[in-house]
Symmetry: C2
Subunit: 299 residues, 2 copies
DNA sequence: TCTTACGATACCCACCAGGTATCAGCCCAG
DNA sequence: CTGGGCTGATACCTGGTGGGTATCGTAAGA
């Protein structure tokens, strides 16, 4: 029983995601027949049926779902191995350019926290060079999983901490961002019930796992788009308190009393022998008392 | 830049572990020249030097060490993907034989805890079939990492919980196991200082990561061997309290006042969509109050 | 019934993984 | 300093297989 090759995993995952051999082959840059054969061989090798091909589309069997999940994790791990090795090699022999850390953050989120972290870390005696990689929605999480980043600021409940080591750095409430001229904008506080069903101001919808949930609000893809729609009086949004940094004059921010809080964590892969990373994490945990004294006991 | 294949990872890891191309090739069941070529190709592909071959042996570069660690994790992940898929498939269509969970435990450790866990779980209405896989020293951890098991009882500080989700089930002190006829055996309590340097009773040494640490005590590989040597008056051992289950008449157990405690956790891979696993974990956490009320606040 | 769509099959080629034989540097024995 | 042995690299060959094109079988829709 020889081992699963990463190529086979890539192929299967493409098919499992597209649920269509033709499109999957196109995505993989190959013809359809070899892809079909590869999947057949994979099924035979595993002794398991992965896909139900009953005319009218392809569907995943239970085993197929398992392989999709586990295979993604495995592919991420191998991609991470390759990337981290490459990066480690580039600073290996050549005279010793300092170790370099890549931190992934969600663009514009936790901005001042990141600022303080970088400042504090730069003051350390043996600080490594830090590269900041800003990604969209849940992209920082993926960057950490596949080795594009060494460490990330992840935001619960939007990101999953599963499989990472992490420390909580910041807990914040949420605010409703409204058009400044809307009647609700004058309120001192709001509850979720107050805003969940305002006819002329439906809540904007963000993509979740690549798709939009159904609902009345407009679909938005980035902060700029959202900010504009709010300024135009077309929608509102519920965002973490720290999002105040990017508000416009035409916006009003009203604290929500009963929205679930948002937790920002610093997260890193659970092995990781890097001294530079350890230093950064130590620096980060020292920031905690400034923002949330004894936060560890609050949960 | 095409992706790292698992075959290449296997090859590199073999060489990195043996630090010898010939032996690595033998271990892989292949000839040496193709192995050399494969490693060269890998280095070229990654654009990184992985090994220093300066006569007098092969050594890992920094990048090589990174790839060894990350690559092991990646290989474990792909092996886990294959195994979990196979297992999931075998109970997939055929009329619905119940889901089957594999739990890995260290042989003879936490025996009564495991007993209570299995009993409690079996009483659940929708209980899955549970297979118990007993392994040696740190083998349960590896079994969980590479997919031979779905869940494991891991014992800190001997196992690493890195990369797993876990719940602490049990905290216990440690005891010194002595020959019953030794003078120290009559004591009510002992401290580490009392036993760390007894000339006629050196502490037995267990293998750590495949090698024995240097020291005066005899090298032991399993409980039986240890038990016999203790009964013969040749050595003593420091073990968790629950090890009392396997003591002989010729043994005496004396609690240690200042030995670091041992924590038994139930651990599982951090993704895992399995309902059966969720049920088992729920059952396990319900066991906690029986043994260590509000243990979560003790740390 | 004809068309269309999609996955499977048949067949072919080219590449490369792996084998054997051999070379090349280094160490040690004498 | 010279020859043998050890170890990794190189040269060259072969077979398996990954990938391509052409085509088929079948089910759904017009």
């Amino acid at each position: 029983m020889d081992a699963l090759e990463t190529r086979e995993l890539r192929y299967f995952i493409a098919v499992a995601e597209e649920l269509h051999f033709g499109r999957a082959a196109e995505r993989l840059g190959m013809a359809q027949p070899p892809l079909s054969r590869a999947i057949q061989r994979l099924e035979k090798r595993l002794g398991v049926c992965l896909l139900d091909r009953d005319r009218r589309g392809v569907r995943l069997t239970g085993a197929g779902q398992v392989l999709l999940h586990e295979g993604r994790a495995a592919l991420d791990a191998t991609a991470a191995a390759a990337r981290r090795t490459r990066r480690s090699g580039s600073t290996d022999h050549p005279g010793g350019s300092r170790e370099r850390l890549v931190i992934a953050v969600k663009a514009a989120a936790s901005h001042d926290l990141l600022q303080r972290l970088l400042d504090a870390y730069a003051a350390e005696p043996d600080a490594a060079e830090i590269e900041v990689l800003a990604g969209g929605f849940t992209e920082q999480e993926q960057m950490l999983r596949d080795g594009r980043a060494d460490v990330a600021l992840l935001i619960a409940p939007f990101n999953s901490l599963a499989g990472f080591d992490s420390e909580e750095l910041l807990t914040e409430g949420r605010i409703a961002v409204l058009p400044a001229r809307h009647p609700l904008a004058t309120r001192k506080f709001l509850s979720m019930a107050d805003i969940s069903d305002v006819p002329d101001l439906p809540i904007a919808r963000w993509p979740r796992h690549g798709a939009y949930a159904p609902g009345p609000g407009p679909e938005v893809r980035d902060h700029t788009q959202l900010a504009q729609l709010i300024a135009l009086g077309r929608t509102m949004a519920v965002v973490p308190d720290s999002a105040r940094t990017w508000l416009w004059h035409e916006h009003a921010a009203v604290p929500l009393t009963d929205a679930p809080p948002v937790h920002t964590h610093i997260a890193w892969p659970p092995h990781s022998r890097s001294l530079a990373l350890a230093g950064l994490i130590r620096t980060a945990t020292r920031l905690i008392p400034d923002t949330a004294p004894t936060a560890a006991t609050m949960e």
